[in-house]
Subunit: 342 residues, 4 copies
């Protein structure tokens, strides 16, 4: 399964994602030059066959022209790295941002690089910790010349056709069936990845809510206090089920309409920890979800489920506190209602 | 301002609402017979001019036929009280349920009472702790004969035209401009009150969210951690406002489109406690909000804002925990993301 | 792949789902007796090896005792069919309801049948038109004795382990890895299926919203009217993308976090019809979604994403009209705003 | 009621709002210079006592230094007008933007004007077509010197204490009880107005949804088709009410917790048009609602009810079409469901 179009790629950023990308590329016969501020990360990959470098200058010198450089960095580090890097490059070199940058920054950065005859390619990369084996789904934005030149890299990083059967009605060619897609000019790649993550929020919330409803299907067995502050369970006899949610996640993996990788992952998590012990339920959001909702608003299209999922994450972190206190204050004012203890 | 149609009314349930109803009725010249399991509550009102009774039997005997009896009881106590009471009554007596019963129970109860030639009237009562002075907005369901007979009671309890200027375009007669309305057959009164409370949830949530957005308008002044788990504030310079929400609530009371009694109450609460100290933000729901959403669903009409408000109350009480934990578990599975500390 | 535990099953209801269940059972070596009010449907399956019957009485007589009967009927027809059928059965016979009945009806029906020493099994069946080949995911409720006896049937109908790799952390036994699960006593099967469909609503909405955001990523190219009734696009240069949503759906099938059967289906639909020509966008809901939301409410757990998806379906059918008109009326009142033409 | 601090004000923009502001100011003893591109509007106000001007240059010359100029213009016209105007002004002149500008533009504009030693004041103005009589609620941002100098203008435009009783717990001074408030530095005024309008969206949606639920309380009287695509009404006997929503809006005006100006307006609209004839239900949004939601997202605070209201407006205008079609396409794929006719 080695590539018949071997290339050289420079990788900056050897965290989990960056390191695994390098491994996947080397396995397929590409040559990799690597750099990270963390020297240990460099040494580790050098031990696996990459060429390690210790300064950005070394890194750039070690690459053949026109250079192909992939940045796999936290969002906040991309711009300073780019600022340093750009002065070291030569015309026709190409820089790929494979992280989760905001697509609007891509538009600005691509212009900056174009002024110096450099190519900028934004590449949304999905696959998480599993990508080394499964391959990464790639959503790419940039000028066609650069994207074409980098095709052997993308083809290796992407999953290829893999286990997924061909789409029956599909007649068009292109790379989408191999798991990577040139989505349009700069920013288009991260735009599609942003929306992908927005959809991910919505799907995750839907599954999580469903499991929660199953989990509380025994609510009729429990006593709710009888007072003016508590809505009674109207039909307790209809909520007497002790459902094994780990088994449910497992059965949904096969033949159901909601079968999905997220269900596979849930089944695994619940197999280890049926009550999700160890999770406090503080759900982070790292930007793409909120940007997706903002895009929907600016486009004037409804996106209620994705937005609900975003709000749910805010709630999970206690960020609704002031609003909640204001509601309690109003209830106290008009009805003399005191808050109940937790 | 004394009524020219004085009546006798029996009140069962002398909590805050029931006691104030009795006071308002007596002030206007009606005669009240009162009963409560709490003898002290009976004595207090007896001291103010009501005729106190110590058993349900005494209570019933003390009333002239056809009797007019108002129940002002916690939801869970209505049915047992009714079961006891019904055997003591005579044909053509009328029982008003002035609490927050589910309208579906009204339908059942009205039938039970009709079998014994008794009248059942459901009466949604809004006004909270302020009703003694302001009057109570009444939403009434039942057969026309009973509702007409009780009109002097309703007219006294309701606010009357009060400070609210007449609706310019209104040409119809009826009692709505006096603050009480016969909405339809049994259940209609509590149905309208249920929806009233659903609207109240939505309005409260809208106001609370708005205040929260104002309160956090200085978010750009604060450092957010820079890591892959935290979305950065993109334009911190646009979130540098320290807004005095107590002043804002006060200014909104006059001339604004959102001017409302709830804003009046918020202004008062914030005048006393600008940071809402003392509120944990655990917002109860006592049934009407959830019943409103269920009605919307069964009618197949969208009610997204009211539903959002209901969900927000559930979130405020930590009831989303399992769903949140499931989202964290998925993030851990696909991305190796660990939850952040609070 | 023929079963080593062949059984006899009677199927009532030979629509698409019922007929395919029979075919899948016969292929695996089970013997089927079939009945439908539509004689042609009976004849067709008789031609494929089933034993056709023309009256319910014949149907029942053709089955060996203890009988195993599967109903695959529209929700509204189950109860009348059951009423007719029950009188013809003998103690220890078992009836499976494989349709989308409300789980609360299962509780009632199971009691009715138990009174006659009959077993009632509720079985949520997911898989749609693809189940004949892929198998059906089965969520089963009922007493253990009946469910065990029917195991060979369920094992054949379900997908089996199929293409889905085993869940790595799973150590427990049971049938979930084979795609069917005894979820609990009566109603539990349809309860889990109901929630499954609720999750399905949320996942579908999330995907649909995402595609819509992609589809309108060129909104900055279009002129919006400049008037007081229209929010301007603030950054038109950020919305200049013409994204091929069919290609995006295809690329998401491989290696992405949102990979799922629904994405597979979307890719196929968009391959045939990239602009979704031919769909008016009137999205039906057949009950499970609304019941899921009602269950969440009665359990007091937030389910905002699933609820948003349900509301979106109501909106898609124009059911928000009166509310929308009320909003327009208010805007007209306070601001003199006239509605814009479509 | 004439002011004891008469000032001169120049008004640019004589639409409904601008013209009424001038009238209210003149009634109270202020002197007004007016300008509009529409000469008729100028003449009309000249006929009522204002000094009309026909060019921006004339307008500026007619004002005494330091000048006080109020812009009451459509959002899109503010910047071009300002660009023209600024060159004609002298140090210490002040410009008020009283329209619905985005607060972020205020920040930029204030800096531009400050560079020329001009004062910029942003002033959110609520009150709609009723403000001439009721006064306008003013939310003001800018430097304290300019805001103080303009105080006599704001005091006249605002409602004053009016009918609203003093807030019982309020002990602080300030102008909020008179209906105008200096909220903070530039942008703060429009920020608070933006959130005000966001709250308005949420309150309007809540009321509209409530009325819709009442309106459809007779849904059990109607036949729903019995087919697999339609959820049946489970308890038709519970939805048999023909509720007069005009009467309900009227009764809610008095003594209820949701009493508000919006309910007053609804009661009036429904008194004229009980079925809201003449409204198509296409609800515009002019920017503030979407900006409020974006602010909530950037501040990481949940605002689910306001967001729901915004989405509802998008839905009302058919902007969910592509998403809805995608849901129909998925249903067709997995279940062979055909869309129902409208």
């Amino acid at each position: 399964m080695a590539t018949d179009r071997p290339m050289q790629l420079g990788m900056i950023g050897l965290g989990r994602m960056g390191a695994n990308l390098v491994r996947r590329l080397m396995r397929d016969g590409h040559q990799c030059v690597v750099y990270d501020v963390n020297e240990k990360a460099v040494q580790e990959l050098a031990g696996e066959g990459a060429r390690g470098t210790t300064t950005l200058e070394d890194f750039v010198s070690a690459l053949d022209r026109p250079r192909s450089i992939w940045l796999m960095l936290p969002v906040g580090v991309v711009q300073p790295t780019l600022d340093q890097l750009v002065g070291l490059l030569d015309p026709d070199d190409a820089v790929i941002d494979g992280g989760n940058s905001y697509y609007r920054d891509d538009i600005t950065r691509a212009k900056q690089l174009a002024d110096r005859q450099l190519h900028y390619v934004d590449c949304g990369t999905s696959g998480g910790v599993w990508g080394l084996e499964r391959g990464y789904c790639l959503m790419i934005g940039g000028d066609s010349r650069a994207v074409s030149r980098l095709d052997p890299i993308f083809a290796t990083v992407a999953p290829g056709e893999g286990d997924a059967a061909p789409t029956p009605s599909r007649t068009r060619n292109g790379t989408a069936p191999d798991g990577y897609l040139h989505c349009g000019p700069n920013g288009a790649g991260h735009f599609v990845k942003m929306v992908h993550n927005g959809v991910e929020y919505g799907m995750m919330a839907s599954l999580a809510e469903g499991l929660s409803i199953l989990r509380h299907a025994n609510t009729g067995k429990k006593d709710r206090p009888i007072d003016a502050e508590t809505a009674p369970v109207r039909d307790p006899e209809a909520y007497q089920y002790d459902i094994d949610v780990a088994d449910v996640a497992e059965v949904w993996r096969r033949g159901s309409v909601i079968g999905s990788w997220l269900v596979d992952l849930l089944a695994d998590a619940l197999a280890r920890s049926p009550n999700l012990e160890g999770f406090k339920g503080r759900v982070s959001d790292s930007g793409e979800g909120r940007w997706t909702v903002i895009a929907a608003i600016e486009e004037s299209v409804p996106a209620a489920a994705i937005t609900a999922a975003l709000n749910e994450r805010f709630e999970s972190r206690g960020l609704g506190h002031f609003a909640d206190a204001a509601m309690s204050a109003m209830r106290s004012e008009f009805g003399g209602h005191a808050e109940k203890k937790g």
